[in-house]
Amino acid sequence: MAKQDQSGGYILQFAPFQSFVDEGFWHRLSSLKLNKLGIDDSPIPVTGFYAPCSHSQVSNHFTLLSESLPSNESEQCSVPAIPRSNRNRCSVPGILYNTNTLEAYHALDKKSLLKEEAKKIWEDIHTGKAVEDSAVLSRFLLISFADLKKWSFQYWFAFPALVFDPPATVVGLKPASQWFTLEEADSVSAACNDWRNSNLTADIPFFLVCIASNSHATIRHLKDWETCQGYGQKVLFGFYDPCHFPNNPGWPLRNFLALICSRWNLKTVHFLCYRENRGFADLGLSLVGEAVITVPQGWRDLLRVPNAVGWELNKGRHISRVINLAKSMDPTMLAISAADLNLKLMRWRALPSLKLDKVSSTKCLLLGAGTLGCQVARMLMAWGVRKITLLDHGRVAMSNPVRQSLYTLDNCLNGGDFKAMAAVKSLKEIFPAMEAEGVVMAIPMPGHPVSSQEEESMLEDCRRLHELVDSHDAVFILTDTKESRWLPALLCANANKITITAALGFDSFLVMRHGPRPLNSTHDLKAEPENALSADMDSLAMADSGAERLGCYFCSDVVAPTDSTADRTLDQQCTVTRPGLAPIASSLAVELFVDILHHPNGIFADCEIADSSNSGSSEQPLGILPHQIRGSLHEFSQTTLVGHASNCTACCSTVVTEYRKRGKEFLLQAINHPSYLEDLTGLTEFIYNETDDNDDDDDFVKL
């Protein structure tokens, strides 16, 4: 809506500059701040760019790019010199006030900063510099606060414009093609195109359009004003107009009028808002108008700087702008999206049925942070698992870093860091998005009695382990002794958690998944109804697959064929193993785990053996899901085996029931009395029995 002044003339309203800050500018500013400036907050000279409008519906923006800032030599980048010719960007000097805190940003005296820049323009007008180098008429101001922790940038532009009071009015604003005669229009277009195509003048945004009486037009520098006088010439003041509006000229005209009025004492000014289309002058889009100026008092006085306006509105409001670039600048976020991409590529290109979300959300508990623990953690991380808890009571020893892939020499110094904590730190250094936790604790072991003073703390450890098992979705038993695997196996059976065991000998390994919880374990007296429901579901699942329950590590220990190389049994204390073994076993353990997650029956899945006739099992996207994998480096061989559940000391219903019924007393007995468990399960008898009544897995045994 055009405004009218008192005398009824239409106030000349200018369309403000619209700012555009390329992402590269913020990158360069961050780099400067971090590498060079530090806390130095003195104003920084910057360069802005604009060009004439080239689109009938979209204004050209006042642009800041990475090149707008002084270069930072220590920055490593190979930014090519973009060969945009000068015609597409007129450079404009400006100044940046970047504060160190948000408070300082808010405390900036915007009024006086604007006044200071307006003063510079005013001086340039009076000294004649603006005639020589007219781009200074569009001098600008930028204030900003860069939060380099959150990668967010607050900023506000000001384009100082000297104010006429009373405001200038406009007479007859219309498209240039309607104002010029046809001949004049052709000549003006040609002259403008020449001006725009010459390297010497293409980036000069203010100029004179002189039209002789024979309709021949020439474009001249502002400093040639004197020579354009007389000879019946019409003179228009032309400028590159970034805005596209049909009824309003762009912002650069404001200070241009101030210059014209002040230097050449004109009160009516014919102006040309030069706009283009596809690189050529467009006189339909360009505007010609006549401005009528009432020269204010004191306009010729250098010392009386007129008022200025020019702070940019933000969608019509007087507030700062904010841009958040965390997604493209925060290294952690970049690492996360890159790691995700890798997995997604796997799904897109190879296995569309991969359940990446399921894998990444599974909470994994790793018991043991040694050779197996470190490798399993890394492999899980590669699969996208984010939540890993590592439990280990030991410290990193000097011999560890070469074999245990999360530790370095630093971890061994000063007595050695706790493994669990060092592992967590290392995981986060590799991939910051890991949610890793460490627990420094020893696992209570049967046959390793504790004194009465230590009972309390031992039971506390048991309770803690029970909670850890409950609060995770999958457990990897990666310790180095048989006894230390007992309690975890029991707790996992009790809680029905996916359990993977890996055990190493000198050159052989075992990787297996434990079967589900025993079916007929009687419930606690305090059992919730859910337990009954889940038990029913369990039996349904078992009945469905028509299979026997698969065994745990201890079940196998009894019924599996003995290792033919008898002196190379697994889990000897102070195991010395061929270094290649742990990574192989760890990798298999993780792949087996991922397989389970993809199987529709999960923990209840029946076993599938390689080269069985049941090749329908290859329907599963990741292949077969075995129960046990046993391998030997001696022959470079590997086989898959099955071992069904037995009356073992860890996972059978007898033991689980006892644990549930008697809790602490049961644990104390099991740990303090070496033969208790065997007696409980009748194992001692069983070993001496000839019958192999393997079907009666879940007999109740009379105590």
Binding site: K3, I11, Q13, F14, A15, P16, Q18, S19, V21, D22, E23, G24, F25, H27, H55, Q57, V58, H61, L64, C77, S78, V79, P80, A81, I82, P83, R84, K110, K111, Q154, V163, F164, P167, A168, F245, R254, R278, V309, W311, L313, N314, K315, G316, H318, I319, S320, V322, I323, N324, L325, K327, S328, L334, S337, A338, L341, K344, L345, W348, R349
Partner: protein, 229 residues
Amino acid sequence: MDVSCWDGTLSLNEFSRAARTFAEKWKIGNSAFPPWLWVNVPKRPFVASQQVDGFLSLENICLIRPSKVCGAEVSHLEEEETGFSEKEVAIDDATLVLSNHHEMHYYDFHIVYSASYRVPVLYFRGYYSDGCPLQLNEIEKDLPACSAKVLLESKWTFITQEEHPYLNRPWYKLHPCGTSEWMKLLFLGEAALAEKRVAIELYLVSWFSVVGQVIGLRIPIEMMNDRTN
């Protein structure tokens, strides 16, 4: 080179030649758009190659969105009120207050040679009129409807985010792992009509005829038909 024993890839030199051909044909056939510009890349100090390295660039392509202020767009701009009094930042009568808030999306496209896949790769990014980058879900809304389908169904075209090889900032790209396969098919089809020779300088023209569809940049028929120059 006979098309039947061609693997669908091209060398860096061939890419430079094909880029020149592509840019020329584009200028002639697609005058509605600004031209593609060749950007030279300064040689990195440790690379011994004598070859000229560079990429094609088409920038500031503007997409006008219908004027609606949706939550996402507003929220990226408005944050804390700074509490400045209106007097401090007053505007005067001579300032036009812009009333309509058409949201404008701008796009930059770069065609970059991938040395590991030996094919061209299309990198692109989008941003609002104030420079704030567009996220992938917003970009996908700007893509033509048919391309959304192509992206979902084809295992040969999908958008990933990776660091631009020269600008060191994350850009989106159409992943190149299937490119050599479908380029070979494309040329096989065309070779059936013309000679058996692989006109490598037309590589980019053919390549873009497929890739351009995904991002909504149509390639006019005229560019495809002229096989003489």
